[in-house]
């Protein structure tokens, strides 16, 4: 195929312990380390491997967000993507709108395959890939831990609650990457320099003229109920006593 499109979302880094703003109006993100959503890195790695095997000729990374998302796109370019597109907006973008915006990019780019992360680790919504496949009228291979391309079809091994499932889907399609699909490469310094010269197009979200989606409002944010620290026991005997006291053994 000619082209693979990969979505990269800028999210609060995996290692940051996120806190609610004191007035409950949102999540504290000022001065917090931001990264590519880890599942999206896996998605990009898969696209790069497909290209390196000769099954695709170009990998295009796309992000939707503020101008700051250019950092994550540059990282994607440093990993090996050929080109980047930033759909720029100051507003937060819900899953349906993100899917609609990506569909417009698909219409322009006509990729043979789209790979996204299975979920973003900020909102944990797990929706965008499935919605995109639906709006596009194409199949989905979600939670993929193995992807084998064969001409116009792809065999996807999916991680499901009961184990693994294999499906076959026609291309073009949307695949969403699970953890064990691959291990993303590290970016090397010379690649970061090279990435600065690669094209990064900025398209205002408004220019895509997507339909407004019925917004679900986030009315308040709070910290979850925390579990209290319990008792420490000294040995197995103490543990057995504590378990017996609770009627658990």
């Amino acid at each position: 195929m000619e082209k693979i499109l990969v979505g990269l979302k800028r999210v609060v880094d995996y290692n940051v312990r996120v806190r609610v703003k004191s007035d409950g109006s949102g999540v504290e993100t000022d001065g917090v380390k931001m990264s590519i959503n880890p599942f999206d890195e896996i998605a990009l790695e898969e696209a790069l491997r497909i290209k390196e095997k000769g099954a695709a000729s170009e990998v295009v990374v796309v992000s939707i967000g503020t101008a700051d998302s250019q950092q994550q796109l540059r990282t994607g370019l440093a990993m090996g993507a050929d080109r980047a597109i930033l759909v720029e907006t100051e507003e937060s973008v819900d899953a349906l709108s993100a899917a609609r915006a990506l569909l417009e990019i698909i219409k322009r780019e006509e990729p043979g395959l789209v790979i996204l992360g299975k979920q973003a680790i900020d909102d944990d919504n797990i929706q965008t890939g499935q919605m995109l496949a639906t709006l596009w009228g194409r199949p989905q291979g979600t939670f993929a831990s193995q992807v084998d391309l064969d001409g116009d079809t792809a065999r996807i091994v999916r991680e499901i609650d009961s184990g693994l499932e294999t499906i076959e889907i026609d291309l073009p399609a949307v695949i969403t990457a699970d953890l064990r699909l691959n291990e993303p490469r590290y970016v090397k310094l010379p690649d970061i320099m090279k990435a600065k010269k690669k094209p990064l197009d900025q398209i205002p979200l408004a220019e895509l003229a997507i339909e407004a989606s019925p917004r679900i409002k986030e009315t308040s944010f709070e910290a979850p109920a925390e579990r209290q620290k319990g008792v420490m026991v000294d040995d197995v005997q103490g543990l057995m006593t504590a378990l017996k006291d609770k009627g658990l053994v």
Partner: protein, 313 residues
């Protein structure tokens, strides 16, 4: 206002998955809910009978089609949309089945989905976890559109049985795509209780250090009649298969007893167990964060403690 709720049954063709009874429990916590269950299957009668026994269910609507033999989202979603007319809410479980399927239903209906409902605050207001459960957000869905949602099953106890709701065959006609085909499934074969519904779970982390050492976890689990779970690190390392992973990107569980062995307690893991009744932590690092949330903690070498504990039971 009356809420008419359609719950999408998860099943394997013969048995109703316990996630369905939990999804119904969530639906039943909405004021004035009238609940129907949709069973899409190749042959629906066995599953439908189980669904009809669930409390609070008004009707079971079956759609029988050879194409429904395996739960492929692209096949099921357009059928569900055909059934969805007249419903204010369409709910599925937040299992890999529901996560795969429900956003397709939402997209076809032109709405966003509410993922992982953990509590119902009103007919169109729900709480859900974000950032691996570090934050709980209250969401308000537009009242003039259907609410498509998945239910965080660990937040709900299965609704009771004993009902005998009407079972009706739904007459729908919709073109189904041919672009998605089931090939096979490799279900983990185990005689142990299923991780999702087990009352007791014994879980191991990277500290187990090998696939062979996980035998210690299995031995303890078998003594307790418990299911077995693992951290992402243990699955990534290949010690256990993926379906045992507990946490943000794996299973979210709520057993009565959870024994975490050699598990440090990263937030991404803890979010999968924080609804457990009692959490026991065994770790050689007394500073491990898991001890902050454990009801019973034991600092010790798991290779010494585990055989001792298994013997003591």
């Amino acid at each position: 206002m009356m809420s008419k709720i359609l719950v999408i049954a998860e099943h394997d063709g013969t048995v109703l998955n316990p996630s369905t009874a939990k999804t119904v429990a969530c639906a039943a916590s909405i004021d004035g809910a009238e609940i129907d269950i949709a069973v899409l299957a190749e042959s629906a009668s066995q599953v439908a009978a189980e669904a009809a026994a669930l409390d609070s269910v008004a009707r079971v609507r079956t759609v029988e089609n050879a194409a429904n033999k395996h739960p492929l989202a692209a096949i099921l979603a357009p059928q569900i949309v055909e059934l969805a007319d007249g419903y204010s809410h369409i709910f599925g479980p937040s299992t890999t089945f529901g996560k795969d399927l429900m956003p397709r239903v939402a997209a076809l209906l032109g709405v966003n989905q509410i993922s992982d409902i953990m509590s119902v605050e009103g007919t169109h207001s729900f709480k859900r976890p974000i950032y691996a459960g570090s934050v709980v957000v209250t969401m308000a869905a537009p009242p003039d559109r259907p609410v498509v949602a998945t239910v965080r099953t660990a937040s709900y106890s299965a609704i009771g049985g004993g009902n005998s709701a009407a079972i009706e065959s739904a007459d729908i006609s919709v073109d189904l795509p041919a672009h998605t085909r089931f090939v096979d499934s490799q279900a983990g074969s185990s005689d142990r209780p299923d991780l999702q519904s087990a009352g007791k779970v014994v879980a191991g982390g990277r500290a187990l250090a090998s696939e062979e050492n996980f035998a210690l976890i299995y031995a303890l689990a078998d003594k307790l009649g418990a299911g077995v779970g693992a951290t992402r690190a243990a699955v990534d390392a290949g010690y256990v298969p993926n379906e045992l992973q507990v946490g943000q990107t794996g299973r979210i569980i709520a057993p009565d007893l959870y024994i975490a062995i050699g598990i440090s307690g990263a937030i991404q893991h803890v979010t999968g167990i924080k609804d457990a009744g009692t959490i026991v932590a065994i770790n050689k690092d007394e500073e491990a964060p898991i001890f902050e949330i454990a009801d019973i903690g034991l600092v010790g070498d798991l290779f010494k403690v585990l055989p001792e504990l298994t013997d003591a039971l």
